[in-house]
Point group: C2
Chain length 496, copies 2
Amino acid sequence: MAKQKKQPRPKAETPKGFRDYFGAEVTERAEMLQKIAQVYHLYGFEALESSAVETVEALGKFLPDVDRPNEGVFAWQEDTEGDKPGDWLALRYDLTAPLARVYAQHRNDLPTPYRRYAMGPVWRNEKPGPGRYRQFYQCDADTVGAPSVAADAEICAMLADTLEQVGIPRGDYIVRVNNRKVLNGVLEVMGLDEGAARDAVLRTIDKFDKVGESGVRELLGKGRLDASGAYIDGVGLSDEQAGPVLAFLTSKSDSAAQTLENLRAAVGDSVVGLEGVQELETISNLLAAQGYGPDRIVIDPSVVRGLGYYTGPVFEAELTFEIFDEKGRKRQFGSVAGGGRYDDLVKRFTGQAVPATGVSIGVDRLLAALREKGRIGGTVPGPVVVTVMDRDRMAEYQDMVGELRRAGIRAEVYLGNPKNFGNQMKYADRRGSPVAVIAGSDEFDRGVVQIKDLILGAKIAENATLEEWKERPSQFEVPRAQLVEKLRDMLDGQDQ
Amino acid sequence: MAKQKKQPRPKAETPKGFRDYFGAEVTERAEMLQKIAQVYHLYGFEALESSAVETVEALGKFLPDVDRPNEGVFAWQEDTEGDKPGDWLALRYDLTAPLARVYAQHRNDLPTPYRRYAMGPVWRNEKPGPGRYRQFYQCDADTVGAPSVAADAEICAMLADTLEQVGIPRGDYIVRVNNRKVLNGVLEVMGLDEGAARDAVLRTIDKFDKVGESGVRELLGKGRLDASGAYIDGVGLSDEQAGPVLAFLTSKSDSAAQTLENLRAAVGDSVVGLEGVQELETISNLLAAQGYGPDRIVIDPSVVRGLGYYTGPVFEAELTFEIFDEKGRKRQFGSVAGGGRYDDLVKRFTGQAVPATGVSIGVDRLLAALREKGRIGGTVPGPVVVTVMDRDRMAEYQDMVGELRRAGIRAEVYLGNPKNFGNQMKYADRRGSPVAVIAGSDEFDRGVVQIKDLILGAKIAENATLEEWKERPSQFEVPRAQLVEKLRDMLDGQDQ
């Protein structure tokens, strides 16, 4: 007989750049998102869950000008229907582009302003790297249709409240506020309203985070030798010409009043610049009146991230406590959220400019920070495991876990092959079970159960003296009727 | 000057078959999933969130034997790297195929048995229809690596607990249990171990839900005139030959013992059939011992859904209360969850058969049922809206909402253009706000605020007598210092 050709076995792997999340990784994120949602809700924001799949046309940034619009998104073409070629569809790459589509689509049914929050995965078709995944969570809140900077101030206050709510103590974070209009004013007084030089200056400002004041000064001038030894050509401005940009970037002072004074000087008589300074002043005053002082929210023109994208106020939340980076150097934890005002969000759909402002929290970064602070990631105890000594007693074992569950105690019967008792204890160990319950014929006859304290057991095995060992044995017997009561006492205070 | 060619505006639409979820639709689902997760957790199951994107190879059912594997899934090909053609990737179409991949990939690090729950969207590339979407939620719990039917019994008990936990009262649901092995035994005694006739009988059984006993009898025999008037050819069995199948399907009796007796008669001396009956008996006994009587879980061989897919016990949860269908006819609400044992889950990856059993809850159906029962979907009140009478007082209005929020009261300042006061009240109305707070210069001078009870206002406008109107005015004045206290009293008992 001819041997049947076998299909090779499929590889059991996630696609490159994707990963699975297990146990506490899932529940800790869910709990954090729930806390964030509570704050957003309290502020009057409504939940929105848009579809994960959008037309490439609606996502906008990635129009199919090539055969396949695969720049940065996961996209595919729908089947042809009759003569009509199928639409290109794509997974959303953030939560802002879908908001624009949703608002444009449903604007007649939505209140104005429309305040919404959204949380969920987004997908990027990018080269994955260490710690860089192609699916990750975002958590956004936006106010659409509110022209007043009171909406921006509110987003900043809400961001501060949110960070404290999830477990970042006051003093360990700072929300920094800048304004694109002020920068526009600065560029205006420099005579850089548009053109290549303006773009070069904007690109240079973007590097301020990395190269600092002296770096930006060099890059605005003749150029700079970078860390790799390469020479980066400069924009070619004289020191005097570059002055207003540097004045802008370094205008932060100890008091908001002084910072605003410095900014006013930097924008000279630029109308848009002065409007920007005025907006920052309004935000500062509104926040101060509500008690959000500079220990929580500050005007800080050195915040450059997103300045190219936003059209008005820009905000960023940074965590200020120190961690050790992968090279063992101390550094600040850094940014966990950012946002700002973007007034052209809906225009490409409707032709009408609609003011909008919002914030996006980097969920994974914030989770990492909470782990760093020890706020989450402690050992989550596994279930109480009722072992199976006598497989004919399964109903009685199930009865025990039923009782425990009704008392709110997480519990299960060992459901693998019960033949090897060692495997049952290994299982309990692998689950991180605090307690194993053991009962065979002898125990059933005498109306008792054995309770094995696995946490204490592990501790004793590690470092107990003989006296301690004797004093508090890690295994003991209780009447069956006292099982629930006894376990409740033992587990009291544990996060069940 | 040549007129610049304009790009047409993109359409603001979800792709066909997708939709957005707003406000309570999102939060009600989240709350229900959280309640389900609590039960699963209590039973010792661990959360798992696998990536939404899988390789088509790992998903299995949809191998790329055509140019593009678009049968039922959304799939696309990764970019070519060098000479290597890119992998085909796809959105998961359920949560079971990813579980198989995860277990095969991580089996050395996972406990055995591995008990996991998962909840999230899945995607189907199918023709959308009314109420049929291409993205929807599933919520699964599975036990992998437990050969004992105690694991199946536990899933049934957990399913009953879950339904009660989310708000389906006992008596309004029933979990039915069947067993594929019993059917195999019936087919064996009929001499239908394999072949076309066996497949035809299996397909016919699948129609039992729709055509009932007499329909199946006709279809197993000569054939049947269906509702549309078309004649459906039958399998061609004699009445005598078809007997065991019908005996199996109609074997349910008032007592589990009698049902099992009937099944034993139907399978004759088939070893696999008797094994199946024995499994049902064990499940029945285990559940009875824990108090899950036939008012909650029954052995019912008329459950045919999934019998073709599963390899052992099969379960289905049905809601038994009546609703009116789209044609105004009374009918039972029907199925909201199903599952069973499938012992070949991991085999295609590893070559090793791994026993597994689990359940999948149809999240949207269950939500619809809860709405039908009035358990969710009541009016969710909007935030207290503090109106803006004087835009220079923004800090003071913000101060009011800050105070309210700190007291746990959902509140916001109106952030649209405050010029038209009517728009502010329209906004409060559209948000479903219970209360609007109004304060202009006069109120600030006198240290008071006006409180407008919008819910009472709406009621009064509808049907109040003049006396009632006078007795409890819908707008009144309180000292500013009593704002929080007064609103707390008014909103007490409301779901904030």
